[in-house]
C-alpha cells in the first residue's frame, strides 16, 4: 500500500475511528494467523477457536451494554443492524415515530416500508429536554404506534437525546424502543435494561474502535428465549444449527444470523471494547470536549469568514461552513494539507435542514481519543491560510 508522505491529521472519527489502537491491530493479525476458522460449522479446534472469539465478543457486549449475550446479533455495520431491527420487529399496519436527526440508515428503510404500504411514520423533534420530548412523543402517538426510534447522538452536532426518558415512555405505552447508538456507543453511558431499550444498534468501527465490517443489534428482554420467534427473519441460510430444518431457528442469535460471521472484525470489536473500558468513558468524553473547545475558540479568530452550527454544546463533533468556499472544496483543500474531514450532508438530510446549513452542506470535524491538541492547531492554522487566501484554490 502506498503511504503518503504528508502528515495525516485524521478528524473524521464520526465516520470511522482511525488509527485503531495497537491492541486492535494485533488482535486482527492474531486471528487471521491463528484462528480464522468458520464458527458454528465444525467441531475441530480451529472452528472452535473462532467460536470462542465470537462468544467472547458477545459476552463483552452484554457486559458493557447490559442484557444477555445470546441476544447479540452480529451485523456488518450499524446500517445493517438498523435495517435488521426495523424490518424484523415491525408488522404490517404499524406506525413508527422517528426523530428529525435520524441518519439515512433509519430514514431510508422506514421510508421504503412506508412506500410499500406496510407501515406509516411520523417525525418528532429531537430534544435534549425530557419533558418537552415526552410531550412531543405523546402528541404524535396513534392507536397503531408500535415503535419509537431515537438517534441517541446526532452525527452532525452534539445533540444527545435522553434515551432513559424515551425508554420510560415506550415501556408505559407498550412500544418497541429502538436506539441508533452509532455516535454514542463507547462514549455515552448506555444500559439497555435501565434505559428500556428493546433493540440497540451499534457499529463496531466507530467509538468502539473495531474494524469496519463489525456491528451488532442487541435485543432486550422482550425477545429472549423463544420470544425470538416473534421477530421476522432478515436473512435466511446456514448457521450450523438444525440443518435439516428448512426454517430458521426460533431463538436468538441464530434466528437472525446466517452465513459466515466476520470473525476477525468481531474479534477486533471485542478488543476495541476492552480498549474503551480501559480508558473509561469519562476520559474519552472529557478529551473530546477539550478538543472541541480548542477548535471552537480557535475559529473565533476568523468568525467573519465561517459559520459554526452549535447544537448540544461541546462534544465530539463540530459542524461549520465557510462563507465563500463550498464545503466539498474546503474539505478537499484541507485534505491537500493532510487533514481529513467530511463535507456535504453526512447522510442526515433532516438534521441538516434543522440546522439550516447552506445548499452545499457543511464541513464536519469529528474528534477521537487518538487526536492531539497539536492536530487542532494544525487544523486552525490551515483554515486560517485557506480562509485568508494564502492557499491556492484547487
Amino acid at each position: 500500500m502506498k503511504k503518503r508522505k504528508l502528515q495525516t491529521i485524521y478528524l473524521d472519527n464520526a465516520a470511522t475511528t482511525f488509527p485503531k489502537p495497537r491492541t486492535v491491530r494485533s488482535t486482527a493479525y492474531d486471528i487471521i494467523k491463528n484462528a480464522c476458522g468458520n464458527p458454528g460449522r465444525s467441531g475441530h479446534h480451529i472452528s472452535m477457536l473462532a467460536a470462542e472469539i465470537v462468544y467472547r465478543c458477545r459476552r463483552n457486549i452484554a457486559e458493557y451494554f447490559g442484557g444477555n449475550e445470546e441476544n447479540v446479533v452480529f451485523t456488518s455495520s450499524a446500517t445493517h443492524a438498523l435495517n435488521l431491527g426495523i424490518k424484523t420487529s415491525l408488522r404490517k399496519g404499524d406506525h413508527v415515530l422517528i426523530s428529525d436527526i435520524e441518519h439515512n440508515s433509519v430514514i431510508r428503510p422506514i421510508t421504503a416500508l412506508a412506500e410499500r404500504g406496510l407501515i406509516s411514520f411520523s417525525v418528532y423533534r429531537a430534544d435534549t429536554e425530557p419533558h418537552r420530548l415526552v410531550s412531543e412523543l405523546t402528541a404524535k402517538l396513534r392507536p397503531n404506534t408500535a415503535m419509537v426510534i431515537a438517534c441517541h447522538h446526532s452525527n452532525i452536532c452534539n445533540l444527545i437525546q435522553p434515551i432513559t426518558d424515551i425508554g420510560g415512555f415506550c415501556r408505559k405505552n407498550g412500544l418497541i424502543f429502538l436506539v441508533d447508538a452509532s455516535q454514542s456507543a463507547g462514549i455515552l453511558d448506555i444500559d439497555i435494561e435501565r434505559d428500556g431499550i428493546d433493540i440497540l444498534c451499534v457499529p463496531g468501527h466507530k467509538a468502539l474502535y473495531g474494524l469496519s465490517g463489525s456491528g451488532f443489534a442487541l435485543f432486550g428482554k422482550r425477545y429472549s428465549d423463544e420470544n425470538g420467534a416473534i421477530l421476522g427473519t432478515f436473512i435466511e441460510g446456514g448457521n450450523g444449527i438444525r440443518s435439516m430444518d428448512a426454517l430458521m431457528p426460533s431463538f436468538l442469535p441464530d434466528r437472525l444470523e446466517a452465513g459466515t460471521l466476520a470473525v476477525p472484525a468481531i474479534g477486533t470489536l471485542s478488543a476495541g471494547i476492552d480498549f474503551v473500558k480501559g480508558l473509561g468513558k469519562n476520559r474519552i468524553i472529557e478529551w473530546e470536549r477539550q478538543l472541541y473547545e480548542r477548535t471552537f475558540n480557535g475559529m473565533k479568530a476568523f468568525s467573519d469568514k465561517l459559520t459554526v452550527y452549535e447544537s448540544g454544546g461541546s462534544g465530539g463533533i463540530l459542524l461549520f461552513s465557510a462563507n465563500d468556499i463550498p464545503s466539498e472544496e474546503l474539505a478537499a483543500r484541507l485534505d491537500r494539507r493532510g487533514i481529513c474531514v467530511r463535507a456535504g450532508f453526512h447522510c442526515a438530510p433532516t438534521a441538516h435542514k434543522r440546522l439550516a446549513t447552506p445548499r452545499e452542506g457543511a464541513v464536519r470535524v469529528s474528534f477521537g481519543i487518538m487526536n492531539s491538541k497539536k492536530d487542532i492547531d494544525i487544523l486552525l492554522n490551515s483554515l486560517d491560510r485557506i480562509l485568508h487566501g494564502h492557499d491556492p484554490p484547487l
Binding site: A35, G43, G240, I241, S243, M244
Partner: protein, 97 residues
C-alpha cells in the same frame, strides 16, 4: 492469543469421547459455550462438542460433554441459570473402537 492454551478447552468431536462422558445437547453454539463457562465456574469440567447428528435436533447442533459422575450436577447448574438442555435423558457418546 495462545493457540495451545485454548486448544484443550475447545477441542472436541465425537471421536475423542472419554469413558463415561455424557452429552448435554443445547440449542445453539452460543448457549453451549455459555454453558461451558457457567459449568466451569461451578467446578464442573465441560467440553463444547459438536456431536453426531443423532444427538442433535434436526441434524446439527452443539452441546457440552461432562463426566457421567458430574452429569446431574451439571444439569442442575444449567437449569438454575435458565439454560434448558434439549433432552435431559442421559446420552452416552459413541467411543472409538
Amino acid at each position: 492469543m495462545n493457540n495451545n492454551k485454548n486448544k484443550p478447552n475447545t477441542q472436541s468431536n465425537t471421536h475423542r469421547a472419554v469413558e463415561n462422558e455424557q452429552i448435554i445437547p443445547l440449542r445453539s453454539l452460543t448457549q453451549a459455550i455459555k454453558a461451558q463457562k457457567l459449568l466451569r465456574v461451578a467446578s464442573v469440567n465441560a467440553r463444547v462438542i459438536k456431536p453426531s447428528s443423532k444427538y442433535a435436533e434436526e441434524g446439527c447442533g452443539y452441546g457440552v460433554a461432562v463426566s457421567g459422575l458430574e452429569y446431574d450436577k451439571a444439569i442442575g447448574v444449567l437449569k438454575s441459570n435458565g439454560i434448558a438442555p434439549l433432552n435431559v435423558n442421559r446420552r452416552e457418546l459413541p467411543r472409538d473402537r
